[in-house]
């Protein structure tokens, strides 16, 4: 399902003095999608969002909204409301006045303003708090006020800058579904900046992963999870085992690499340019696809001898921590049921293995 482009970043760059906060980036935001921009702090994700909001001016490049360049527009002339990490609710206004603010600034009449604000308060299930002061609200209620305040103008796009970071874990999960439903029902394009993988992956249609001012990968959560484009992405997600080595042989999509942990074969190397012999590359394989046995299995598998160093249970899945002879940590994820067939003991030797087609090749930066 390919949708129309709403926003496009064309060669956009942002420098603060000598510091490059955002390197030249090109990407599109589609109409009606939930896009998450994810990365660790200082990766340029918030700067990207602020450029779109008109709070920072790009140093180079063009940002288009619905085809029109918006670089020159001040933030108050764009329809790009933002939900702030601090929420930035006006403490001297009550809940209803906060929500009415944007309408007031647009010269909407008093009665109309009130009606529209109350509609959104009702939709966010906080109408009963309309006349309260902000200081009398709980964290979750404030969150809803902030959303209503931004959505009351019914914009085409809503920007969210880590809005859930101040909430406790349970409330965070609840707000995630509120946000996702809201986005689905309204069809408004959401651009959601976060450092949390679980937030990005649970809500977004597409995820942009940034590191040090650069886009590392854009894709659906599944694409990114299954086939991380770079070693950074694989490490950042932390859901794959990564083996580094040199290409020994490459024939079509089949690649053999040799590294300290062993020699591995990939059945379907999907690098844009086929790797040359001798090139340094990395192989990633998902924790959940890595299997474990007491003795080396027969058949066409990649195998690594490992020693168990620990295990960790989260609900019905267990993560087993193992170590190769070189001291590299390997993780294997198994359901509780799977584990029953394999007696586990810390300090014992096992073999980690996976089929050739489960490996994935990433370029070494």
């Amino acid at each position: 399902m390919q949708r129309d482009t709403l926003v496009s970043f064309e060669g956009v760059e942002k420098r603060f003095g000598g510091f490059v906060a955002v390197q030249k980036m090109d990407f599109d935001i589609r109409k009606g999608e939930f896009l998450a921009i994810m990365g660790s702090s200082g990766c340029g994700k918030t700067t990207t969002l602020r450029m779109l909001a008109g709070l920072e001016a790009p140093s180079a490049g063009v940002i288009r909204l619905a085809g029109q360049p918006i670089n020159h527009l001040p933030t108050w002339s764009r329809d790009t409301p933002m939900v702030w990490q601090s929420l930035a609710l006006f403490p001297f206004l009550n809940v209803r006045e906060n929500v009415e603010f944007a309408l007031k600034m647009r010269g909407v009449g008093k009665a109309d303003r009130r009606r529209r604000a109350e509609q959104w308060l009702e939709r966010m299930q906080i109408l009963e708090f309309a006349e309260r002061d902000i200081s009398q609200l709980s964290g979750g209620q404030r969150q809803r006020v902030a959303l209503a305040r931004s959505l009351v103008v019914e914009p085409e796009i809503l920007l969210l800058d880590e809005p859930l970071s101040a909430l406790d874990a349970a409330l965070k999960v609840r707000m995630q579904s509120v946000l996702k439903n809201l986005q689905r029902e309204t069809g408004i394009t959401f651009v959601y900046v976060t450092h949390s993988q679980s937030e990005a992956f649970s809500m977004a249609d597409r995820v942009v992963i940034m590191s040090r001012g650069k886009i590392e990968q854009i894709g659906t959560p599944q694409e990114i999870y299954r086939t991380p484009a770079t070693r950074f992405v694989a490490e950042f997600l932390g859901s794959s085992n990564i083996f580094t080595g040199q290409v020994k042989a490459a024939a079509g999509k089949s690649v053999t690499l040799e590294g300290p942990a062993g020699t591995f074969t990939l059945a379907a190397a999907d690098l844009a340019t086929p790797p040359a012999v001798g090139q340094k590359v990395s192989l990633t394989v998902l924790d959940a696809r890595t299997r474990l046995a007491a003795t080396a299995p027969a058949g066409a598998f990649n195998k690594v001898p490992v020693r168990m160093i620990g295990e960790e249970f989260v609900g019905a899945t267990a993560t087993i921590y193992l170590e190769t002879a070189q001291g590299q940590e390997i993780r294997v994820q198994k359901s509780q049921d799977d584990l029953e067939s394999l007696p586990l003991q810390v300090g014992k030797d096992y073999v980690a293995f996976w089929p050739h087609e489960d490996g994935h090749l990433v370029a070494e930066a």
Binding site: P74, T75, F90, P91, F92, G140
Partner: protein, 276 residues
């Protein structure tokens, strides 16, 4: 009080010592003013103990003295004008500091906050020399100019403190919701800073109301009340001074207390506490 016995982490000797200390400190500060207050109702011409009988004669004498009324008129006119001008200037300076980063900002701040640290006699002399040169000495306007110079830094400090408590995203959030810079100033910055702005207004009025030294240098014939009081004192010792003193004290304290209520009472509400 009744539950002090339960409080095992308190030493009653220290508690009482601290209470006595506070009471003594206040007594030291307010004794002269209290004495002036008491003697303003005393029938004896000279302040002495034992007191004579209670009287309002001195207040009556003050109230019927046209010179006092003229002084009061000057003082009020100057005080209100100074309050408004100094607060406007101070707000501008504080907002500049809040909003902008620029080269030499530290110097700008130091210079802006400098006037109250200059000895008033020197400031008064300098004002007289300067204002007389440009033909502005000896009238109410000259007192206003001089008082704005010393009051504006107070206003700036008060407003600046308030702005520093503001969520730095608030103004940008207003812009983002469609407010132009002027609209954000009107609908966000000023409402947020309002308690401090009113507080600064009252404090600067009180400072101007009480200020003597500079007013003495530059007021010429348009003497303010404190300057008039000195005039009285030099001419004759009269309990009328106590009456005026009491009046000036009550007025100043009212202004200062109003400012305090605004700055502390509402201030606590400024930022939502991170509960939950």
């Amino acid at each position: 009080m009744s539950d002090t016995a339960q409080d095992i982490n308190r030493n009653p000797a220290i508690d009482w010592g601290l209470k006595a200390y506070v009471i003594l400190a206040y007594a030291f500060v307010f004794a002269p003013i209290a004495a002036s207050f008491v003697f303003s109702f005393n029938s004896d011409r000279f302040p002495s103990i034992p007191l004579g009988h209670f009287t309002l004669d001195w207040y009556r004498a003050v109230a019927t003295d046209p010179l006092v009324w003229e002084g009061l008129r000057n003082t009020l006119f100057v005080g209100v004008t100074v309050g408004v001008l100094a607060t406007a200037l101070g707000f501008g300076a504080a907002y500049t500091d809040y909003r902008y980063k620029f080269l030499g900002k530290q110097v700008y701040l130091a210079l802006a906050l400098l006037p109250p640290t200059i000895p008033v006699v020197i400031l008064g002399l300098a004002m007289l020399a300067y204002l007389s040169r440009i033909g502005l000495s000896g009238n109410a306007l000259s007192v206003i100019i001089a008082h704005v110079v010393i009051c504006a830094p107070f206003a700036m400090a008060i407003v600046r403190l308030r702005l520093s408590q503001m969520d730095p995203d608030l103004e940008a959030a207003a812009w983002n919701l469609g407010a132009s810079e002027w609209a954000a100033m009107r609908h966000v910055i000023i409402p947020f800073a309002k308690p401090a702005i009113l507080g600064a207004l009252f404090i600067t009025m009180a400072v101007s109301f009480d200020e003597f030294a500079i007013a003495w240098f530059v007021s010429g014939l348009n003497e303010t009340l404190p300057v008039k009081v000195l005039g009285f004192l030099q001419g004759q010792v009269s309990p009328r001074i106590n009456a005026i003193g009491t009046f000036v004290f009550v007025t100043s304290m009212t202004l200062v207390v109003l400012a305090q209520i605004l700055l502390t009472g509402r201030g606590a509400k400024s930022r939502p506490a991170a509960d939950e």
